[in-house]
Amino acid sequence: MKVLVPVKRVIDYNVKPRVKMDGTGVDLANVKMSMNPFDEIAVEEAIRLREKGAATEIVAVSVGPQKAQETLRTALAMGADRAILVMTDDEVEPLAVAKILKAIADEEAPGLVILGKQAIDDDSNQTGQMLAALLGWGQGTFASKVEVTGDAVAVTREVDGGLETVSLKLPAIVTTDLRLNEPRYASLPNIMKAKSKPLLQKTPADYGVETTPRLKTLKVVEPAKRSAGIKVAGVDELVAKLKALGVAA
């Protein structure tokens, strides 16, 4: 079984995003960029499936600028077998990403597509579900456990009240939650090896997908700031404050 893993290049999660003065977006110039953390978990899960013998080949895909190559090389260094870069300098919305991924899935015929549950830049949490809809496949979102048996996959999902398990017919879509696994670091020899692994370059047009945004961003502003309040000296003062708030009798 082939596993397709879409990975997105995003602002590094340790960086505090700054809104541009002109209100057009977030300033990404000279900002550290990394693989979306949920996508690292997706790559790791695919590798574990291959280690268990459930997967045979792992194909990483990214839709984005030339620099997204670096993100794909990271996936290759972790253990993906080959990569596809769908090159575009435009911002591509989840719906269009899902359409591109559908075209790739039609060509590659994977048994599973494992995506992150959300990209930490747009926080959309949509692409996996959209891809599942376009392919007509089952979806196991927010996964904390994935088990492939025969022609089905059991996915344990993190839901509002706790955990839920669903069984999906293969092929299927999985989106990862944080506790699915802990991604490995690529070793130096593997980083070197990754440089010679195949990386195919495509464009959205190659897949016949129109990427014009449906949502127009009118402006981007900073959220209302909270200012630091007071520090109390001890528990008695805190109790008094809680009483003043009407929280304690």
């Binding site: 977006g25 919305e93 926080d123 955990l163 939650d177 630091a228 929280v247």
Partner: protein, 308 residues
Amino acid sequence: MSVLVWVEHEAGAVKDATLSTVTAASQLGDVHLLVAGAGVGSVAEAAAKIAGVAKVVVLDDAAFEHALPENVAPAIVAMMADHDAFVAPATSNGKNIAPRVAALLDVMQISDILSVEGPDTFTRPIYAGNAIATVQSADSKKVITVRGTAFEKAAREGGSGVIEAATGSDAGLSSFVGAEIAKSERPELTSAKIIVSGGRALASAEQFHEVIDPLADKLGAGVGASRAAVDAGYAPNDYQVGQTGKIVAPEVYVAVGISGAIQHLAGMKDSKTIIAINKDEDAPIFQVADIGLVGDLFKIVPELTGKL
């Protein structure tokens, strides 16, 4: 304009998340509710009483018992022939189902809206709430999820919607295997008025319970946790507050031994009053806290619990 709203329900009752979603939807047009499940007659009746509701559409069938998106989404798409928008709370069901509906309708979903600025214009948080975008949709039909903490709750009484049955089927792609749903006497996080949250500093599941629970009991509070505490197994996953956990905005949020990483702040910084207890006076949590107390939580919290 008519708007179809996903009703979040559990054990025969309409959940609060639905009520804030109704408020958001009512700013767009006539509100119709969708109740999907098995044996949901009483939910439909309760839903029909929510203020401002014109109609309740009921999908009552075993195929919908567990809100499997493979089954629910096509049924919603069929209903969208005579609705202009589908609106769901940003709950785990809403987030699971709405994008599937959007893709089937060839619509770009607007996730987690904070406000309705016009019939096609909304604000939403991006970058873990470090920026707020105003976006305008060019799609003729809208698919939207709603951040519950950003809208007032509609009243549970006062409406008299007509109840109508709809049908759908099992797509045969997925099945429900089981669930481990935590049962708690405590208020649910997303609707709790007070929340006490514990972080990595609690250092073990036992200490988390010994220190956090009595304080929460005294305050009648819900209990939350940072991701670090959840990952380490001190608290179950449904406690996680943050960018990728639950978004909460209680009257009072007490952060105990939580540093205040941006991903955690994303889930709680709209709380009315934030109280932080941390031994590091430079912890970032103090930059957003209204009331801070620097010191060892293992001393402070039991003393506080004792004095309340």
